[in-house]
């Protein structure tokens, strides 16, 4: 039993040690390791970089910012513990985080009951619908991705589609949302298949969709390696229909994984960050995405990703709110955050209101097509 007390004593000592003095404390719980590391890792790196940048410039209203960052490994139970720790022990003024919907829902409960402003980096619509007083988020919802894709399909006269989706959280959630809104765009889903995230071959499912009568296009909600395999199989089977991917694979890594030949002609809704190099001068997002991309790639020597962009936007929103609030009181930060009007981020332009805690519309998405291994805007 002595060991328990010693362990606890150590724990307390560390808890006190980390509570060193800082002017403004910003908390974050991200999935920097584990299955969702491809989300959490660029997010954590982005926050660290931006805090450093901000403090080098003198902080907010002359006060330095301290970032308290924890890695929840994608486990909602851990995320809840870290959220409690951020609020009760580190006494942060605001929280950014929740790389996945599961971890977000855990942090959300703590933030809401303790009254700490919280910006989530996860996709699902239930985070901000219904609107909760202290909870905001930066990524578009799955529903918006579906709407953007269906708008493009409608423009091209497509009315009957086949859908193949991953059974992971992202794929399953987007599949449900797409089915929900398809009717509004007069689109009928005539074939529907799924695959597990680890599957190495989707040829049978694609063959089945191909042989369904009347299919005019195929939609693949999913992220990770699954969509890349679907794209490769698609080319191997010589399917001559438009292929739509989701915003979940909006990165250069996807083109590499699927191969530029197989990916030729694939369309997906992406953010301005993906086309930072070719974005037109005069585009309101031009400066923001170029600056973030240049800084991130110089510091870490790896490609910038949409997910890091979500963290970038959350950080800008939160620090902007703290600056306007002129204090580190959570209530005042929340009020200032909700009053955000026209903040230009990498994902889109945010305008929050009492009944909209996402603040983006469909214009934030850009319809992109892969041509010769490069992203091209086709809006």
């Amino acid at each position: 039993m002595k060991v328990t007390t010693t362990a606890l004593a150590t724990l307390m000592a560390l808890g006190i040690a980390t509570a060193a003095h800082a002017e403004i404390k910003l908390g974050a719980s991200l999935s920097a390791s584990g299955g969702a590391a491809f989300l959490g890792d660029p997010e954590a790196k982005t926050l660290e970089m931006l805090v450093e940048e901000l403090n080098a410039k003198g902080g907010i209203n002359g006060e330095k910012v301290e970032l308290v960052l924890y890695d929840d490994g994608g486990d909602p139970n851990k995320a809840r513990t870290f959220a409690t720790r951020l609020v009760e022990d580190d006494e942060v003024s605001a929280i950014i985080g929740g790389s996945t919907t599961g971890t977000t829902m855990s942090i959300l409960a703590v933030a809401e009951s303790e009254g700490i402003p919280f910006i989530s980096l996860a996709g699902a619509i239930q985070i901000i619908d219904p609107v909760r007083q202290f909870v905001f988020k930066t990524p578009h919802t799955d529903r918006m991705a579906c709407e953007k894709i269906f708008t493009d399909m409608q423009k091209n006269g497509i009315t009957k589609i086949g859908m193949i989706s991953g059974t992971d959280g992202f794929g399953a959630s987007m599949e449900a949302q797409c089915k929900d809104v398809a009717g509004g765009y007069e689109i009928e889903i005539v074939a529907q298949e799924t695959y597990a995230p680890q599957d190495a071959d989707m040829t049978p499912q694609l063959t089945k969709i191909k042989s369904t009568d009347g299919v005019q296009a195929i939609l693949n909600p999913g992220f990770g390696q699954g969509p890349a395999i679907v794209t490769r199989n698609y080319a191997q089977l010589g399917i001559d229909l438009p292929l739509y991917q989701s915003h979940g694979v909006a990165s250069d890594g996807f083109i590499e994984l699927a191969g530029p030949d197989a990916a030729e002609g694939v369309r997906l809704p992406g953010t301005a960050l993906l086309i930072a190099d070719i974005i037109e001068d005069g585009d309101p997002q031009k400066d923001v995405v170029s600056a973030y991309k240049a800084a991130y790639e110089e510091k870490y020597g790896e490609d910038v990703s949409t997910f890091g962009g979500y963290a970038h936007d959350a950080f800008k929103l939160m620090t902007g709110a703290i600056e306007r609030a002129g204090s580190d009181d959570p209530e005042e930060i929340r009020d200032a955050l909700e009053a955000t009007d026209g903040l230009v981020g990498t994902t889109g332009t945010y305008t929050f209101s009492a009944d909209d805690h996402l603040g983006l519309d469909l214009s934030a998405f850009r319809m992109l097509e892969i041509r010769d291994g490069e992203w091209v805007s086709v809006d």
Binding site: M1, T5, A7, T81, M105, A109, S173
Partner: protein, 318 residues
């Protein structure tokens, strides 16, 4: 080990539980304490299965998942109180354990490990894929127990952390009391006998299959209740609770602390719950240090922490 020492052990543990909050600098420590107790609860179930009866399960998180989702689903779909849902989950887990254990436990060797491995994966797959019912990998909300409001009505105001610290501590004490009683009962002796040698146990007339099954069912119920408590205090649950890694974590806690000892298992649960919190200062090296500690304990203290230390200082009674 006498009946006397059972009460001594319980009293010492209750004393520690009672005194610890005095040293808590913030509400966060109640949360960590509550997690330690809930993990210890499922690990003690494993002590009965692994430590007493010598059977290994690699799918106990499956039972935790059933307990957790019973609390999330039953109040919504069956309209029963969350507290009753805990019981419902325990009953379902127990019945499933009988169905799995009955054919498997007639066999010798590690068939149970393989069968439970499959069972655990199956449960987590069902929870992930039955989106309409469970919300899929994004998880679902769990209704509040409502007991805190009742206590508030009686003039006792507790924060969520404090309430669950006390509730889990009480459930854990009862669970330990049951486990210690079992240890000294005829059933417990039979379990330990078949752990030593199945052939010898059978020769002296012990129904080996029956006692193995009993141990398995009891441990399944422990895991289920732990899962329920976790779901109720988090207010939100995802299929991770039934994941394979959670099963491995439980076995690791049991083995680290000392799989034959109830208090050792509690210690193991405490250490493996606290370490990730302490090790956040090491950030990227957290997993490395955790792995290193496990390896060192297995090499130098193969019986697990508490029994090894106890043997070294000749402390009898554990």
């Amino acid at each position: 080990m006498s009946a006397n020492s059972k009460w001594v052990q319980l009293a010492v543990l209750a004393g520690i539980m009672l005194v610890l909050p005095v040293f808590f600098p913030s509400g966060y420590y109640y949360r960590v304490g509550a997690l330690v107790y809930v993990n210890a609860l499922s690990v003690i179930g494993l002590v009965i299965l692994i430590g007493y009866a010598g059977q290994i399960s690699l799918g106990h998180a499956g039972f935790a998942g059933i307990g957790a989702y019973a609390c999330a689903l039953a109040p919504v779909h069956l309209g029963i109180h969350p507290a009753l849902a805990v019981l419902l989950g325990a009953v379902i887990s127990g019945v499933l354990a009988i169905l799995i254990g009955r054919p498997i436990l007639r066999l010798k060797g590690y068939y149970l490990a393989v069968a439970t491995l499959g069972f655990g994966i199956l449960v987590s797959m069902v929870l992930s894929n039955e989106r309409g019912l469970t919300g899929g990998p994004d998880g679902m909300a769990v209704p509040d127990l409502g007991l805190r409001q009742v206590l508030r009505g009686m003039g006792l105001k507790l924060s969520g952390g404090e309430f669950w610290y006390i509730a889990n501590a009480l459930v854990l004490l009862v669970a330990i009391w049951i486990a210690l009683n079992l240890f000294h009962s005829a059933t417990g002796r039979a379990m330990r006998a078949l752990h030593g040698s199945e052939t010898a146990a059978r020769t002296v007339g012990i129904d080996v299959a029956r006692y193995k099954l009993q141990a398995f069912v009891i441990s399944a119920v422990y895991a289920s209740v732990a899962g329920s408590l976790l779901a109720l205090q988090n207010g939100f649950i995802t299929p991770d609770v039934a994941g394979f890694m959670h099963s491995v974590e439980m076995v690791t806690m049991a083995v680290l602390g000392g799989v034959g000892s109830v208090l050792g298992a509690t210690l193991g649960a405490a250490i493996l719950t606290l370490l990730p919190q302490v090790l956040t200062v090491l950030a990227d090296y957290e997993q490395l240090v955790l792995g290193l500690i496990m390896i060192l304990v297995m090499i130098f203290l193969p019986l697990g922490l508490l029994p090894s230390i106890a043997a070294r200082i000749r402390w009898r009674g554990v």
